[in-house]
Amino acid sequence: MTFLEALAAGFALVAQWESIFFLSLGVLVGVFAGAIPGMSATMAVALTLPFTFALTPISGILLLLGVYKGGIFGGSIPAILIKTPGTPASSATAMDGYPLAEQGRAGEALSMSLYSSCIADFISNMALILFAAWLASFALNFGPPEMFTLIVFSLTIIAGVSGDSLIKGIVAATLGLILATVGLDFIGGTERLTFGTVELRGGINLVPMLIGLFAIPEIIAYIRNPAAREQRVRALGHAALKWVDFRRSLKSIFRGSAIGVFMGAIPGIGAAPSAFLSYSEARRNSPNRDNFGKGELEGVAAAEAGNNGVAGATLIPLLALGIPGDIITAIIIGAFMIHDLTPGPLLFQNNAQIVYALFLGLMASSVILLVVGSIAIRVFRYIADIPPDLLFPAVMVLCIFGVYAINNSIFDVALMLVMGVVGYIMLIFRFPAAPFLIAFILGPMLENSFRQALLMSRGSPEIFVRGPITILFWCLTILSVVMIIRATLRAARLKREAARSASRLEAQSKT
């Protein structure tokens, strides 16, 4: 089959009401599932899988992809409205999205999140179609040493999301790294910090911890001081996104999409680190740097571009090599196999029409996401108008319900509440939650890739500079650290000078 024939056959497969119906259904299910705290995009895809058994291959796979893409965007809705990331990847969105909602700008934040998601999704899909082979060969060169250096570089994000105090950010990150070691030791198989409990053998679950860290402290703060909340203006969530705001965020959206494509093409990283990396890069380069974390639309745009940019690219290792990049693509591989399709290079030879149908369906999904997303925003933004004394109890119930549903485990609910108290204490002492979370997500990758690399080299550290990729990341790491130190010193100097001139002014006014 020639390229054009395959393309035509693919078009015939997609251009049916059935394919478009299942794709739209998938996006719809995904957006709503992603919007439920505790119900991550991964879970939504896994739960949809049994329904695809009876469908035609292309309908089934488009359904799953729709759920995936919808879920990644859907997670940003509760992140913005109630500071409860619907999926781990949308935690970065909450950092600026929730302050915006507090200022009565939820409508703008949601629109920005949607447009940014759709653009990043489209770019990611194009990257998959145009550069799959090239990016796949890159992914193939990404062994444990390369992974380790990438994670070390990614840890420099911590400086970008620490807020006012770098020291407090580092303390929070260290705490996250320590908590990440709980559970069975990956290489040795021994128990670490489990205190003999069965529940902790599997480690601390990410989603309960995430919800505990972000949503519960807000609820505790409200219980302790409801009056502070009443005075704030919230019921203005209907303002449209202004073109100037969108325009100035475009650069961050494109940068975030590129970061997403790159991180998505490498197996085993996922959307959350990508969102944080994109956010911290946007903050570093933005003229509105100081407004990040206090309600900056560009921050929402960057975070959402970072996590949606992963969505198409994560199919690169799957289609080009047949390897799963994350849990979601592992499930999609299962769907391929059930329909007697072999994922990987053979698919292009034996089922080229399916591949092109998939590509066309992916392009359509960006548009469908835009439509379904706008509808969802219209429905969900009324949440911003709910009075807090109704909203907070409802959020609490939703969080407990969602966390319980992940594993049908009361332990997870207890974990969430404990993390909520920890998060509240961090809030009072102004320790940022984001570095804690990033370290917790990256910690296992850091440790495992480090130890795997040393096993490969039989203990010789030379493996960490074994090729151009590792050296590139070491250089980037050194560069970022130097820039962080310079920025910190400059900030300290400015602060000193400001203090000095203030005291001089004071002295002058006295004389």
């Binding site: 896994a46 193939l140 062994g143 198989g189 072999t342 990987g344 049908n408 795997q452």
Partner: protein
């Protein structure tokens, strides 16, 4: 009017009381626990079977995932459940053969379960990168023997099937001091372990054949050995019998249904009947075989025997090679 109401209420109450005593198992929905994540191999197999059984079992089945600690969390939940047949487990080689054999600290033992049917067998395959120098399993054994510490194998984690499986293969071929002869790199799962072979991080993977099939078909990997009794359609590699190590036929993955140890005879018997009918479902057969599994239903008695034998075989290797996790 009031009289009629009273009569109705009384009648309803009597009926409600009488039904559980008279009716046969099952009178309410059955909870089926998958101790592994949604979308994984066990989950797909479990949901395909549950769908097929919906036409056979008179009550609905609710399949739910309780993941964590390599299947221990879900397994413990079923062990602690009532033996009335309303809470059952999809047990698998990982949770009920490999882990119990390797980990003395596991919070459960296989005696604490009563098996009602093993229905799926997954042969193990050893695969290498197609650029590899190893063309036969003998090439590999030769290298491991002559140059200890030069061969790396990847697994889905400590105490996973590929971990112990590779060790069992090497042991069967007479390699000595296995712990020093090969280097073990644990990864996050079968997919990651195969990725390591594809990248050249690892030299060999010996695990469930299903996830390796696409790589072999695409020519990216070469199979050296399969543990099935006959050659597999998707992988043209010598069987263990051809390679002269027939005892490795015990090295297979499996999936089965189990209840707590005090599961009632009535429930066990019913499940034996239901499974015999359920596995005939063409859609179920298609889903399982397309994933590279072999459908092989065992009666409740045979299942118990099979699981115990598998445990003994694995346990003997663990003791002989000192693979126990402490």
């Amino acid at each position: 009017m009031k009289k009629t109401l009273t009569a109705l209420t009384l009648g309803a109450a009597t009926a409600a009381l009488a039904v559980p005593a008279l009716a046969e198992y099952p009178t309410r929905p059955i909870q089926m626990i998958v101790p592994f994540g949604a979308g994984g191999a066990t989950d797909i197999s479990a949901r395909a079977l549950a769908t097929a059984l919906n036409n056979v079992v008179p009550q609905p089945m609710v399949v739910s995932n309780r993941t964590g600690a390599g299947g221990a969390t879900g397994s413990v939940a079923v062990r602690d459940a009532d033996g009335d047949g309303y809470t059952l487990l999809f047990a698998r080689v990982g949770s009920h053969t490999v882990n119990p054999a390797m980990n003395p600290n596991l919070p459960y033992t296989i005696d604490e379960f009563r098996f009602v049917g093993v229905y799926e067998i997954n042969p193990v395959a050893c695969v290498v990168n197609s650029n590899s120098d190893f063309n036969t399993i003998e090439d590999l054994i030769e290298r491991v023997t002559n140059d200890p510490g030069s061969v790396i194998f990847s697994s889905a984690g400590v105490g996973s099937m590929p971990h112990i499986g590779t060790m069992m293969v090497l042991d069967a071929f007479g390699v000595e001091d296995i712990a020093d002869a090969v280097i073990h790199i644990p990864t996050e799962g079968d997919g990651a372990a195969l990725t390591a072979v594809l990248q050249g991080t690892s030299d060999i993977f010996c695990g469930s054949a299903s996830p390796a099939v696409p790589f072999v078909e695409a020519g990216q990997m070469r199979p050296l050995l399969v543990t099935s009794s006959e050659r597999l359609d998707a992988m043209d590699a010598p069987t263990v019998a051809e390679a002269g190590v027939p005892e490795l036929r015990a090295l297979v993955g499996w999936t089965g249904i189990a209840g707590p140890a005090d599961l009632s005879d009535e429930a066990a018997e019913k499940w034996g009947e239901w499974l015999a009918e359920g596995v005939q479902d063409p859609e179920f057969q298609r889903i399982l075989t397309s994933g590279g599994s072999v459908i092989e239903l065992m009666s409740p008695e045979d299942s118990v025997q099979f699981v115990n034998d598998a445990y003994e075989t694995f346990r003997a290797v663990v003791v002989a090679l000192d693979l126990e996790i402490d």
